[in-house]
Amino acid sequence: MDLNYSAEDLAFRDQVRSYLEANLPSDLQHKVLNHKRMSKEDYVRWHKILAKQGWVGTGWPTQYGGTGWTPAQRHIFEEECARIGTPAILPFGVNMVAPVIMAFGNQAQKDYYLPRILNCDDWWCQGYSEPGSGSDLASLKTRAERDGDHYIVNGQKTWTTLAQHADMIFCLVRTDPNARKQEGISFLLIDMKTPGITVRPIIMLDEDHEVNEVFFDNVKVPVQNLIGEENKGWTYAKYLLGHERTNIAAVGRAKRELQFLKRVAAKHQKNGQPLIQDPVYAGKVATLEIEIMALEITVLRVISQDSGRPGPEASLLKIKGTEIQQRLTELMVEAVGPYAQPFDPAFLEGETEHSIMSDDDAAALAPYYFNFRKTSIYGGSNEIQKNIITQMILGL
């Protein structure tokens, strides 16, 4: 039993930390730390900076240009990124489609797509969910019919994150409508510029444009864009779902946000003293801080147990991680109280330096709170995660 990092890990951490301190643009950091909205350019800029350093494929084997890091190193890297406040590397290319291409793609697909993913030459999005499918993913209806050396795709995807920026979408499509639900599904890569694709924004409850509906109307997709075998797509999707859980607990970010929360609660007053010194409020913050401490150890336990591929315990990490994130935003809103009310999209978009109200810290907190209700819904709702724990761990 030893909860300390090894000397090598500590050296690695220092290396990562100095690199990030030297290379993270301060305007990007400012946006992240202050809960502002990130533009496409923001994401791409940071991705390319990391790509130059060779630190994008943190879960990739070295043969594809990955870092080949151990699970501990990868965890350290993620913690350091969260600590300093880097933009996210969006998962759709690097952590979602890439592992599928590596495992099931042909050589040409690997040669073409993987370097472009590493370098963010393509912006990827995910075409899984459909209206009506939700947690029951395999009930998808989007059809792909073979027509010579093309598939003709018709149907609709939804909840497609940041599809408005996307160059490519990876889709689950139904190629055999007569097969059983999970069979007859194929995994297709589709160029978003193909005629017949329409993207319709879905505005979130904080009025951010984060997800979309994507419509396919007789979209011609070359057969070489099929991954693996026809009608085997469900297998690949399940493989990918296992990968989606990386850093799902987001403990690093939670620790950073806890500091933000304490700073805000130290600034706001209750009964003439800083709110953070109010016994009732401090008790709530302490309870949350302890939950974060516990989850950090739980994550490390999972990492140390296997090769960094959490099994059903990932459901625990997802549930606890999102509960913590949501609780953080709740306590932030509580801290600023009435100051949560003003709504200033221009400030959130970075169009103005200061918010309409004098408290810039407070300006983003209600949108943040409302937006983060999604975390217990997406990526398999927390109810679905409990079903998984029930079945896979508890055997009920």
Binding site: S135, I202, I203, L205, P338, A340, F370, R373, K386
Partner: protein, 379 residues
Amino acid sequence: MDFTLTQEQTQFAEAIRRWTEKDYGFEHRKRIIESPAGVSAEAWAALAELGALALPVPEDQGGFNGSAIDLMVVMQELGRGLVIEPYFSTVLGAEFLKRAKAHFDVLEQVATGEIRLATALHEQQSRHDLSDICMTAEKTTDGYRLNGKKTIVLHGAQADKLIVSARSSGQQRDKSGILLFLVDADAAGITRHDYRTIDGQRAADIIFEQVNIPAMAMLGREDGGWELLDAVSDYGVSLLCSEAIGIMETTIAATLEYLKTRQQFGVPIGKFQVLQHRMADMFMEMEQARSMATLAAVKVSSDSTEERRRTLSAAKARIGQAARYIGQQAVQLHGGMGVTNELPVAHMFKRLTMIELSLGDTDHHLARFVAQPGFKNAA
């Protein structure tokens, strides 16, 4: 012991509900939010027509002298309709004037819908403590001079007149030295910054620079400012509680409907026991909250200040808890659809959340409840 509404109350409620359903639909409301004005003159006229604006006004000023229960009925319906017009701020303003027994002309104008009111009580440092006032009221030869800044004044830029709290003496958070004034919203020296709130309403930051007002602008007694402010704030709490109940009803109805129609794994998701029990919990929260909103509307007129404070704080705390649970769970049960701006449920959630932190949040009112002598004396 009688929990039934009078026939008049029921008819009033039905009339407002018919209006919101017919003329204040979801898309219409959205356009009002997006409009530069942020409120609807048409809706205001309709509220006047319906008698909702005359309701809180005394009979001598052309009103119906409605009771807190009458207002409860109205606020529930406006909650159901997610109405974002300056009704709450105007009723609250009128309550100041009623209690101060002054400015009858203004009350008359409220009754006819000629003017809107807003209450400028909150300052940057106040958080939930309305006695935390830095704004100064300096005595002049013929009145007072106001200096300071009020923030998050609900519908402050849409109002014709403001009720303003200021301090003639004492330290921040002293209960003495607080004065209340009725001020023209466009008086010289006043600057208003209008902005949206996240729940679709409007609010303003208002700067008062050397604003001279006559002596008669002061409301009530020189030594009674805090008592008046505290009492009217409790009245506002009662209104908000009732609004919240209306929203909870529609939130739960919308969620139930979603559970019955939305299919997953070949069955309506309302067949999953975990979601069923979640709904049962939401329902129970609403019923407990409804009981407290009713109690609040009854006790807000109590002769005992302590009983009023104790009950209103209990109600606000209980309703805040229910509002959070019901709002969050309604969104959760709606799944992805719940976190978009496209369904009413998101807007109900946002309004419920903002009600929770208006006029004192749950912790504030729990502490106020505890601070009443009755809490420890009973021990």
